[in-house]
Amino acid sequence: MSLYDFLSYVIMPALSISTLLVFYRFIIGPNVMDRVVALELLISIGIATITVFSIVSDNATFLDVAMILALIAFLGTVAYSYYIEKKEKNE
């Protein structure tokens, strides 16, 4: 089994399954914070996926995207918690 095959047929599918699982949590909630957590995890998995994809496509360029994701996802989390904290029960 070549590295390419391993990554394509084991790692990527495994990551995809993880994604699905997390997304399932995202959908069922039950409350908004669960979704925020799920989103954060989704993005982490995304970082992993992009990293693996950069090996698969033999192109380090994509790592930059992963880096941006890592840097910026945090802002989203901060914003969501900010929102929830300020908003309390307006929904």
């Binding site: 930059d64 995207v65 880096m67 840097l71 910026i72 945090f74 802002l75 901060v78 900010y82």
Partner: protein, 136 residues
Amino acid sequence: MKIILLKTAANYLLPLLLLFSVFILLRGHYEPGGGFVGGLIASIAFILHSLANGLDSTKALLKYSPFYFIPFGLSIAILSGLAPLFVGEPFMTVLWFENPLPVIGLIGSALFFDIGVYLVVIGVTLTILFTISESV
């Protein structure tokens, strides 16, 4: 939000993100990145800072109102476009210096254009977000 962890993280992230934004800006001509994303990352650094430390401390840090970044950046962009006119080339023709500089590589007016973009993006994003934060 005055949360210690966030505050600390934001304070350390600020220089790191700014550095990173310049990195993204300068290498845009060779690899993914450029003035836009660079500017966005820089603004995110400041926004993070403001969310953690309060708007006033970020404003104090910036010294100038982010609003003035906008005309400043626009001026740089437009001047870099005007430069070729003095050599008799059409507007926005990219001029290149003869010798490459270390790190950045060849310096051309396109780089200044990108710097202008960078500044405008910072100015715009921060103006928008700060204004909103103030009025929320």
